[in-house]
């Protein structure tokens, strides 16, 4: 760490776990080997004590695990997932809530993870594409439907699409094809194989209902 980093580190509020130890932990865990640099950024306008002031060191509930992570104030969930927690299944397609590739479930509701601050999901349940399949590798019914129908082409949009579908089916488990299309309409596919995507999801919904 550079002197500046040390200084920043010392500026950090110490909460339970020592920040330095925490960082070592993260690195050891390999969750963020790529971008530990992210960790060493200080807030530029400190306002300690103000109502609603946020700490950088937070705990996230991601795919059922409690993950401690150091998050910049302006950091989006997509960036935290991809660069701090090593969950690269969530894709960045536009970073402007215009394509849906970064869709994840927050408390079972589909959100664009590129357009929500990581600090906003503290104490909420985040599920990414990596969290869908069972520990033994059994696929989620929606994933199974995709596999059976050979859905998607380049599949860069797929994780977001699948999460949107899973979220929608929680609300409407027995949709018509049109309803399903409406439910996943917040996701863009540039291979534009939309017809097969719907077929795959309809199959997934069917498997889900049987399960």
């Amino acid at each position: 760490m550079s002197d500046k980093d040390m200084a920043d580190a010392n500026m950090m509020p110490e909460r339970g776990v020592s920040r330095r130890a925490f960082i070592k932990g993260v690195i050891a865990a390999g969750a963020a080997v790529s971008s530990t640099a992210y960790l060493f950024r200080a807030p530029i306008f400190g306002q300690p004590g103000a109502p609603g002031a946020v700490e950088r060191l937070i705990t996230l509930n991601v795919n059922g695990q409690m993950r401690r992570v150091d998050v910049m104030k302006q950091e989006t969930l997509a960036m935290t997932l991809r660069y701090k927690l090593g969950l690269t299944g969530t894709k960045l397609g536009c970073d402007r809530s215009e394509c849906g590739a970064c869709t994840v479930l927050i408390d079972d509701v589909p959100h664009y993870s590129c357009s929500i601050l990581t600090h906003s999901v503290r104490g909420r349940k985040v599920v990414t594409i990596e969290g869908l399949a069972g520990a033994d590798g059994t696929l989620h019914p929606v994933q199974q439907g995709v596999v059976e129908e050979q859905g998607f082409q380049c599949a860069f949009c797929m994780p977001g699409f699948v999460m949107a579908a899973v979220g929608f089916l929680k609300v409407n488990p027995n949709p018509t094809r049109a309803e399903l299309a409406h439910g996943v309409s917040g996701n863009l596919c540039r291979c534009q194989d939309y017809d097969k995507i719907l077929t795959a999801f309809m199959r997934g919904a069917e498997i889900l209902r049987r399960a």
């Binding site: 950024r41 807030p43 530029i44 306008f45 400190g46 306002q47 103000a50 109502p51 609603g52 002031a53 946020v54 910049m72 104030k73 302006q74 989006t76 970073d95 402007r96 809530s97 215009e98 849906g100 869709t103 509701v109 589909p110 959100h111 664009y112 590129c114 357009s115 929500i116 601050l117 600090h119 906003s120 949107a164 929608f168 409406h182 439910g183 996943v184 309409s185 917040g186």
Partner: protein, 337 residues
């Protein structure tokens, strides 16, 4: 200084959990504070590094701002209520279907899951010159890039342009105006309630803002009186794509009519001016008239009186005309297959 439109610059973040705390923060930082609800409008500005607030006040965690509750004779919708919650609310569906339609017409499912109704009405214009960070009137400069001989202004204003020709992009705003909704605004001094139609302001009044919120103000709730509950509603949005896109024009109307005549009506458009436009003259003209083709035709003609099209948005005149006609007489005919 070179320009880059990626990665949000650092800011100090506040996530208050009460309106009181929020107002304290807004009072403390005034113009330096950036209020963020769903954040879907904010993030564009911040990631493009065009707006550079020092303090971001994220009101997403303020429970008092969420939820839909009965209030006297009507509904009170917290400004922080998501569009999805509005769409799914039984009373909205039962009494104010037009608001459901308008909310559902907005953006995409994920955006409706996060975007709030307060944010939807208070969001900034999407004029692409302005959003690209060009230093136009609205951005504090002294030029409008969208109204020049070579400008691309298909999306821009046909009414009430004053130097700036940007339009309000909100889908729910005209519905709220048609429902005669009231906007509840609070600041450290107290609370004030304004009619929805007076919440929005054009460039003539203030060319840098689209609503009356001043630094320190917070839109806390939207009240919908029962005045128009269960009326005959009409909402239609015309956009390029069926998802994401903002309206080229949308129309919302609430009408009470019997066989013989239209007894009362409220009618509003958006996508035609920097503020959603209530068509008071049309309302007056059709009240008491039978609900038929002639009345609709007259309403349509009246609706575009005084419109000033730009080079590329002349189509908005027939579009407004036809949409207002449809609001009066409905859509004719359709295909079964």
């Amino acid at each position: 200084m070179a320009v880059i439109h990626d990665m949000m610059p650092a800011f100090e973040l506040f996530q208050p959990t009460s309106i009181a705390d929020t107002l304290t923060l807004l009072g403390r930082y005034r113009g330096d504070a950036w209020v963020m609800a769903g954040g879907l409008d904010s993030f564009d500005w911040l990631k493009d590094r065009i707006k550079r607030p020092r303090y971001v006040v994220d009101i997403g965690g303020v429970a008092e701002l969420k939820g839909i509750r009965a209030s006297g004779a009507g509904l009170e919708i917290g400004a922080g209520t998501t569009l999805t919650e509005v769409v799914r609310h039984p009373v909205v569906k039962e009494k104010f279907g037009i608001l459901l339609e308008a909310a559902e017409a907005a953006a995409s499912p994920q955006i409706r899951n996060q975007g709030t109704i307060g944010g939807n009405v208070s969001q900034d214009t999407r004029c692409w010159y302005y959003r690209a960070g060009w230093s136009c009137y609205r951005a504090g400069g002294n030029i409008c890039y969208a109204d020049t001989p070579t400008a691309i202004n298909r999306e821009h204003a046909i009414f009430d342009a004053d130097r700036c020709v940007a339009v309000s992009p909100s889908d729910t705003a005209p519905a709220l105006i048609a429902l005669d909704a009231k906007m509840v605004i609070r600041n450290l001094e107290g609370e004030r309630v304004v009619d929805a139609e007076n919440y929005f302001i054009g460039p003539g009044i203030d060319i840098t803002r689209m609503n009356i919120l001043q630094p320190g103000d917070l839109l806390t709730a939207i009240r919908i009186p029962d005045t128009w509950a269960g009326a005959q509603f009409y909402f239609e949005k015309i956009a390029d794509r069926k998802v994401w896109d903002f309206p080229l024009v949308n129309v919302a109307s609430a009408m009470v009519a019997n066989q013989s005549a239209i007894q009362r009506i409220r009618l509003a458009l958006n996508g035609v001016a920097a503020h959603p436009k209530r068509l008071v003259e049309v309302e007056a003209a059709v009240t008491g008239k039978p609900r038929n083709e002639q009345t609709a035709e007259m309403a349509g003609r009246l609706a575009i009186a005084g419109a000033q099209p730009l080079q590329h948005n002349g189509y908005k005149l027939p579009l407004v005309k036809n949409l207002v006609k449809r609001a009066i007489r409905g859509v004719e005919g359709s295909w079964t297959s």
